[in-house]
């Protein structure tokens, strides 16, 4: 079976490289940087004078899991994650990467939890997760504290493995976070990635997936909540480069307060050899107040029409009047009704994960975020009586064929 090289020939993506010089300081005119408020990212984009400061990292790993470090270019490090921007290449230069190796056929019942706590300095981490054949694991990376953080997560999903990676951005309000997550999904393997971005000043993460065999499945879920002044950018890239693979991307965001800005860019490439694949990407944004901006850009590049399906949808709007009326007609106040609708908007994604313990953990994060943001900002949650629904939906595949 033919597997295309990982070098995606796409006008949307810069060529990957391990050389910082290939990614000069962005000016804002580059496609991949056109949304970002560059002055705020400045500190993240400059090369550190020396190596990065250490970051406090705690890790609980059960039996069947080996923890070690990998130097640049050692082992699988650098085989999957090919940096596509200046931040990810800086993180890829970290002298020692954390290496989490799950042995073949090991099935973990408890999640591996990695807590990254910033200490207010510039910091970088490169985490390599290497799963064995037919292994099963959940890896949760929780980012906390304050930092100017370059972070990469590189995931090798071996054949028939079932790997779930969760990245929670629960940073202090002044944190900056950039970097890249990348996974290679093996034959008949299942990869699930959950991104949860609530904290930080500015967060910009590239999340990429490709396949190393047929029959692999990738599900990429995202939840984000931008409060006043927060910038959150999630860039998805699914390289559907092998036959009979499937991918499903679903990102949900809520925005509230002046200057809240979110960006979602979803790219799916369906290669010539990727026959029989199916793919769908969706992004929904719930705009809670005036003064927010949600950018949503679904892209689909298709080189073969011999597929099961490919589609995308993007919706950005305010509360649904009918939902609020229905809930309020049962006695819920306007604020209770809105809270429930937002909670449901996020829970709707979480329930797809199908791992009860993880679902509860993520729900706890959502509830904590809503308690912090919605309850506090309640007085400002006053949409006009007849909010205008901005709606663009494309449930049917929108296919641009490239011959």
């Amino acid at each position: 079976m033919e597997i295309a090289s990982q070098q995606v020939e796409s006008h949307l993506h810069p060529k990957p490289s391990f050389d910082v010089a290939d990614f000069p300081m962005p000016t804002g005119r580059e496609e991949v940087w056109r949304f970002a408020p560059l002055p705020r990212f400045a500190e993240l984009l400059t090369e550190p004078p020396t190596d990065f400061a250490d970051i406090q990292m705690t890790l609980q790993a059960p039996v069947g899991v080996t923890l070690s470090t990998l130097g640049v270019g050692v082992g699988v490090r650098g085989s999957v994650l090919l940096p596509v921007d200046r931040v990810s290449v800086l993180a890829a230069k970290v002298s020692q990467a954390r290496h989490i190796r799950i042995a073949d056929a090991v099935r973990l019942t408890e999640p591996i939890v990695i807590t990254v706590t910033g200490k207010g300095e510039r910091a970088a981490e490169h985490i390599v997760i290497e799963s064995g054949v037919a292994s099963e694991a959940i890896i949760v990376v929780e980012h906390r504290g304050s930092a100017v953080f370059c972070g990469n997560i590189e995931v090798v999903v071996k054949d028939a493995a079932k790997i779930t990676v969760v990245s929670v951005q629960d940073w202090a309000p002044d944190a900056l976070h950039g970097g890249m997550h990348a996974a290679a999904v093996g034959t008949d393997a299942q990869y699930r990635h959950v991104m949860m971005t609530f904290g930080g000043d500015a967060v910009r993460i590239q999340n990429s997936v490709y396949y190393t065999g047929s029959g692999g499945n990738a599900e990429l879920y995202g939840l984000y909540f931008a409060d006043a002044g927060q910038y959150q950018e999630h860039r998805l890239s699914v390289d559907q480069n092998a036959a009979h693979t499937t991918s499903y991307v679903d990102y949900r965001g809520a925005l509230q307060g002046k200057g809240a800005h979110t960006v979602w860019v979803g790219d799916v490439f369906i290669r010539r050899q990727a026959v029989g694949i199916s793919s769908y990407e969706a992004n929904k944004n719930l705009v809670l107040t005036d003064g927010c901006r949600a950018d949503s850009v679904p892209n689909l590049e298709i080189e073969t029409g011999n597929i099961k399906g490919a589609g995308h949808s993007s919706t950005t709007g305010r509360f649904d009047d009918n939902q609020l009326f229905y809930l309020m007609s049962r006695g819920l106040s306007s604020s209770e009704a809105k809270r429930l609708v937002i909670q449901g908007f996020f829970y709707d994604i979480i329930r797809r994960i199908g791992i009860a313990e993880l679902e509860e953990r993520l729900k706890t994060h959502v509830d904590a975020e809503l308690a912090k943001t919605i309850d506090r900002a309640e007085t400002s949650l006053c949409p006009p009586p007849l909010p205008e629904q901005l709606r663009h939906e494309a449930p049917q595949p929108q296919i641009e064929k490239q011959e």
């Binding site: 649904d320 009047d321 009918n322 939902q323 009326f325 229905y326 809930l327 309020m328 007609s329 049962r330 006695g331 819920l332 106040s333 306007s334 209770e336 009704a337 429930l340 609708v341 909670q343 449901g344 908007f345 996020f346 829970y347 709707d348 994604i349 329930r351 009586p385 007849l386």
Partner: protein, 252 residues
Amino acid sequence: MADLIIRGLHADVLTEEGSKPILKGVDLTAKTGEIHAIMGPNGSGKSTLAYAISGHPKYRITAGSVTLDGVELSTLSVDQRAKAGLFLGMQYPVEVPGVSMANFLRTAKTALDGVAPKVRSWPKEINAALELVGLDATFGARSVNEGFSGGEKKRAEIAQLHILNPMFAILDEIDSGLDIDAVREVAEGINTYAAQGDRGVLLITHYTRILRYTKPDFVHVFVDGKVVQEGGQELADLLEVAGYERFTRGHA
């Protein structure tokens, strides 16, 4: 008695083209302990009456009054009307993905009672109400109305009626889209609620079918935004035979 008293009610529907008058002076008194039916042809404004009384943002009361137990509803917010004892069973119940029925009803019950329902007895209460209307216990964990069939949505409305047990229920075309067995079960659900003796029911329908199982004490014929005739069960029987034509002539 906690009566629903509607006097000279005028209401507009707000559309993108502007507002359009629908209710043109509704007078109606429905006492608790009684079952009232409003019958009328399509487009006569029956649903508008239900929405206007409940405070839907797309409808605006322009004149008149509607009081429940002496409390003027038209100036209250939607949730305050519910707290005043009003319940609206909707023709098209709304889906709320990601919000479980149990969580929703628990939040609603807490809002109405001012205290959270008892953790121990609450699941039993939910299950009993679901069972009463022919829904199994799994519906408690499902998202509000999401993926329910038309009939399941209507049954779930009646289950909510039982759990929240308001002073007065307006049920808007609760019988539409139901097969004959479902009509009977929904009607029995309404009867059980009404049998408490101190609750009010205003049943809006354009078919007499459900009235075979839920016997109204009073029937109000609704045409062109107002009540044109009132009577007892015999009026429903007459409509069954003769239709609305004798009332609509000169209006259409």
